[in-house]
Symmetry: C2
Subunit: 162 residues, 2 copies
Amino acid sequence: MGRPPDRGSDSADRRRLDHGLLPSLLGYVLQRAQTSVFADFSATFARAGEAVTPGEFGLLVLVDRNAGISQTRLAGALGIDRSTLVPILDRLQDRGLLARNRSPTDGRTHALALTAAGRKALARFSRLVRGHEKRVASGLSADETRTLIALLDKVHRAARSL
Amino acid sequence: MGRPPDRGSDSADRRRLDHGLLPSLLGYVLQRAQTSVFADFSATFARAGEAVTPGEFGLLVLVDRNAGISQTRLAGALGIDRSTLVPILDRLQDRGLLARNRSPTDGRTHALALTAAGRKALARFSRLVRGHEKRVASGLSADETRTLIALLDKVHRAARSL
DNA sequence: TATTGTTATACTCTATAACTATA
DNA sequence: TATAGTTATAGAGTATAACAATA
């Protein structure tokens, strides 16, 4: 007796799906790679007991390297609306990582900066990110990694100017 | 007179930002490339008067190639929770592109399928996607495109198994 | 008048937990 | 009991429109 060796249609139904043309589409493979890389980013930080998203990490790096930047300019660099940035900064500020200082030259703008705690946290985060990078690039040679980054940059530039 | 040729610090402040280590991080360049590719996808469809997201297109392809698939299995293939899928299918169904048919073998599951209108729409969408792909890959040679897709697939597989 | 940051509002994507119908 | 689909709910990310303070 027993089920046929090629597998019956049990409830879980583990048969491979037909993905059609999707695996040949740049947008699709891009998104798939990105999702798994972000998942490892999250797992890396969760294991270390830190709660930071890739977006928050990028924001912290930008503010660290461009102290005094305004919210509107930072939003522009991140490619989001300035109203979208407000609750994100609120959270980082509530966590004591970032300060909205008054600009000495323009009463309308905030001069963003990391706090001392923010700089210490960013150093910690950067160490975690280095390990994460090593892991996600572990399937590639150093040469392949360079090639991949260069090609992605080309795509970015080409697609941006459409 | 006029402003100094190297640009003063006017309100918009167009000086290049310092991106620190970000451009050397796989996750960052991945996300940047993906954002610009998705932007061209949206622009392509908007120009043609169609309203479809990359996610909806992928879902339609999957249902087209795997007619009769259940919601739970489709959610698994998309990497989302089955409850997340419900409003997405609602919209596609409201637009007349997709049907939730009764399964003849299991009263609990829906056998998903494209409607005739859905198949016609998908053919239209696929034509648009072909043009979109050509455009976003226009900065790369055919060889580079193949290499990029292969490397992204490697990253996906490596990162998935961490 | 124009710009900056903010708020109010809305929509999408995402998840968890609990419900219902079926198995 | 277990599974499929659904609902209720909540959080994050996104945007637009309008407002107060400042330029």
